[in-house]
Every structure is written in C-alpha cells, then in structure tokens.
C-alpha cells in the first residue's frame, strides 16, 4: 500500500498533449517526409524497454504516451479502492493501456489515455463494482459518496 498512483507522476502530467496544441513542435510537412523515415519512440538507449516500467522509460516526443485523448471522453470510470480485489480483469481488457497496475496492485486510471469505453466497469467482478462510470465533470468525492450499496442475491 506504499505507492499511490499520484506518486508515479503518471496522472495529469503537464506535458501530455503539449505538442498537439503547440505550433512550436518542429514537424515535417507531408511533402517533406521521405520513404524509410523513422520515428524513435525513446530518447537514447531503448534496448531494455521490456524490463522498465513507464515511469522509468525515457519517452521521446514522438511516442503517443506523451499525447492525450482525454477530449474523446464524455463519461469517465471512477475507481473505488475500498472494494477492489486486485483481480486485474480491467488491466487485461483495457484497450487503451489506461489501467495503472504495479506489483499486482491496481493503482488507478490514466485519465489522459482513457477514452471512456466502459469495458473496465463491465468486467469488474466485485459486488458492488469497484469501477463505475460517472459524468466527465463529476467530482471524485461526490462520486465515491454516491457509490451504490452491496446488492443482495435476490435483487440481482
């Protein structure tokens, strides 16, 4: 329980999506790109990427990790740590690599990459679900306060 998602410096990263908005990013035009161009995903040595966690990697500006698709979303999943059993169903089926999981523990959601599809909520096996969809601008504290009670068997 020592690490929190906020400590990993992954959530609400200030640099995310910067280049999508800024004109200063030096891009080649469509008629300047030649065949055989290479986009480097990392700065420097990338030979041991498979053994590095996201926070240890040196992503280049061309890696979509540094981009954001948060504007696609109209509803967002909210995570309730108190009910979660760390089954990792949401991790394996998240199509957007947005479930942050470290040391067999679910830590939270990467809201810069989440598109709000709702698959994580559907595959959550707990009762009540430990992930639920709320409006994009809903408040975290209010959402957690609104959390449904455990359903009895006959109500299911």
């Amino acid at each position: 329980m020592s690490i929190e998602a906020q400590d990993l410096d992954l959530l609400a990263n200030d640099n995310r999506g910067k280049h999508q908005l800024e004109a200063g990013f030096d891009l080649l035009g469509w008629d300047e790109v030649t065949q055989g161009s290479v986009l480097a995903s990392f700065e420097g040595d990338a030979s041991d990427v498979a053994h590095k966690k996201s926070e240890e990697r040196t992503y280049s500006n061309y890696n979509s990790y540094t981009a954001t698709v948060a504007s696609w979303r109209v509803i967002k999943p909210v995570y309730n740590r108190d009910i979660c059993i760390d089954c990792q169903n949401c991790w394996v089926w998240c199509p957007d690599t947005s479930i942050i999981s470290r040391d067999k523990q679910m830590l939270g959601i990467d809201y810069d990459h989440c598109k709000g599809c709702g698959i994580c909520v559907e595959v959550c096996p707990t009762n009540p679900k430990s992930l639920l969809m709320f409006g994009e601008y809903s408040d975290l504290g209010e959402s957690l306060a609104d959390w449904p009670e455990k359903k009895k068997k006959e109500e299911k």
């Binding site: 280049h19 986009l39 990338a46 030979s47």
Partner: protein
C-alpha cells in the same frame, strides 16, 4: 525464449506494457486488447509489421507512434513479406556477427486485419508460409473493412449487412459464406495454427506464447469485435466476444503440424446463435419473418462445423 508468467492475471499484470495509450482506435476496440496481450506474453525483442488497416492507421498517426518496439509501416498486403525479410536479414547478420547484441532473442510478428489477410494480402501470406520463415502472423478478424467504412470482405459471414452488401427489401445482406482461413493455413503445413478469442485471455496468451516459441511460420486468427461496424455499445466488447465463443460462431481451437486438432474452449452451455446475432445491429434484419431461413442456415452451418471439429479432434487427422 523468455516467456512471462501467465499463471494468473495478477502475475500477468506485472508485465510492462509496450503498447502505449493515446492511439486513435475506437473506444472499446478489441484490436488493442489482442496486441497488448501479444506484447505482454514475452519480454524478448519484437519486430512487428502491420498491414494497412485500422491497427496501422490508428497507432501511427504522425507525429506519434504507439509502439515501444521496432514496428514497420508497410503497404496493404505485405506485412508478412516485410517481416520475413527482416527475419532473413536478422539471420544473416547474426551469422556474420554484425548485430549489436548477437544473442538477444528476437521474435517476428506480422499483424493484419481480415481484409488484408483473407483478400488483399492472401497471396503474400501464402508465399511467406510456403517459404517457411520463422514468424507469426496474427489476423485481427473483425469481419469487414472497418477502416474504410465497413465494406464486405471475404471474412464477413453470411447474412451480415455491410456498406457494400446492404440488407433491404431485396437482400438479406451478404449472401456468401465466410472463408475458412484457419483450415487454409493449416493446409500449408504450418506448425501452429489457431483461432483464439480475447475474452479467453489465458488460452489466447498460451496460444501466442506457443506460436512465438514454435520455429516456422505460425498463423493465428483472433476474433476482434468491432463496435462501430457490428453496431453494439463499446462497453459490450467482451460480452459480444463471450457470445461469439459460447454460441460457437467462433470456436477456439488450434491445429498443430496441420493435422493435430485441439479444441481449447468447450462452452458449458452452448447458446443458440440467435443470442449472438440479436446482440448486434448488423444482423437486426435477420429477425424479420422473411429472413428467418438465414438464421436457420447459420445455425446448421455452426452445428456442422462444430461436429467436424470434434470428430477431427478425436480422430487426430
């Protein structure tokens, strides 16, 4: 080959993702589940190529790339050719000792959609299988050309409505049956051929690891539910895939050395195919009284195919 543990999901989740978010696939697309699972199966270096299709255009939107490994952007039909070319180059450079790290294991994987596998890239794939390179080809089968607006492909099943085989007063959608690509690839004598589904994550991960380990050309057809063109809610992707495997529309099985067939998933309760069809908008017209015969035809085809698979598993032929 360095394999990562897939004993249970908790252990599997300790892998470090090499497929990054903020790609532009639709919300709820099964393509990225399959790709993530493949890349989490191993910590070897990977050389990937993708045929043109949803996966290619969404994961390499200039100036961004979502791939943390070597990935080749190539034409519509020749991911198999590009990746086998890289494989030969790697082999030669290894022999000459000109690689940076001569002993680092490298795996070669090509991705293709169903359009580029069943139709456009079929000849290239067949050629690569015949030449016997050590690579794995993964078809992400969403049963239409989803990237260009849902045209019919030869993977589209009978009865589905697509933008070029529309259902209406004179038609019930596509009239031709789906190509049996798994059997075609097994007939090439490939050492490992399988059909897998992302909802059965463990059998899928096992299948991927087996394919990567096996020397020689391996082919895997994966079910990739397409919420946009199959017309269902994005959150239901796993539910629809469950229906597909439980109704035996997509049986999960493998064929080793072209003859040894193993069924990897037997549903406890086999569902009638109506439930699978009813969950998707592209089959809605089949429930009109004049189209009922198409559902009966689909069901009888499924029953025959399942019977054939079971007989083949028993007879080992």
């Amino acid at each position: 080959m360095a394999i990562t543990s897939i004993k249970n999901l908790k252990e599997f989740s300790t892998n470090n993702d090499r497929f990054e978010g903020a790609h532009t696939l639709c919300p709820g697309c099964a393509h990225s589940m399959i790709v993530r699972e493949l890349m989490n199966c191993t910590d070897d270096n990977l050389v990937l190529a993708a045929n043109t299709g949803c996966l290619e255009v969404s994961t390499a939107v200039y100036p961004y790339t979502s791939w943390d490994t070597s990935w080749i952007h190539i034409g519509f039909e020749n991911a198999a050719t590009a990746v086998t070319g890289s494989e030969v180059m790697h082999k030669v450079r290894k022999r000459k000792g000109t690689l940076k790290d001569n002993d680092a294991p490298v795996k070669f994987v090509a991705f293709g959609g169903d359009g580029s596998t069943f139709d456009i890239g079929f000849q290239w794939l067949s050629g690569a299988m015949e030449r016997g390179h050590d690579f794995t080809y993964i078809c992400l089968d969403n049963e239409n050309y989803a990237n260009t607006g849902g045209q019919r492909s030869s993977a589209t099943p009978i009865g589905a409505t697509t933008s070029t085989a529309q259902a209406g007063t004179h038609s019930y959608g596509k009239k031709e049956k789906k190509k049996d690509i798994v059997s075609i690839m097994a007939a090439h004598g490939a050492p490992y051929v399988a059909q897998l589904a992302p909802n059965k994550w463990k059998s899928m991960a096992k299948g991927f690891q087996k394919a990567l380990e096996t020397e020689g050309p391996c082919f895997i057809n994966t079910v990739s539910a397409c919420c946009t063109e199959w017309r269902f809610d994005p959150k239901d992707t796993i539910h629809i895939t469950d229906l597909a495997t439980d109704s035996l529309m997509f049986p999960v099985y493998e064929i080793i050395e072209g003859h040894e067939l193993n069924i990897l998933y037997r549903p406890k309760n086999v569902m009638p195919v109506e439930e699978y069809l009813n969950a998707q908008g592209r089959y809605r017209h089949l429930f009109k009284p004049e189209n009922k015969h198409v559902i009966e035809l689909i069901q009888s085809d499924i029953d025959k195919y399942w019977d054939m698979l079971q007989r083949r598993e028993e007879a080992r032929v």
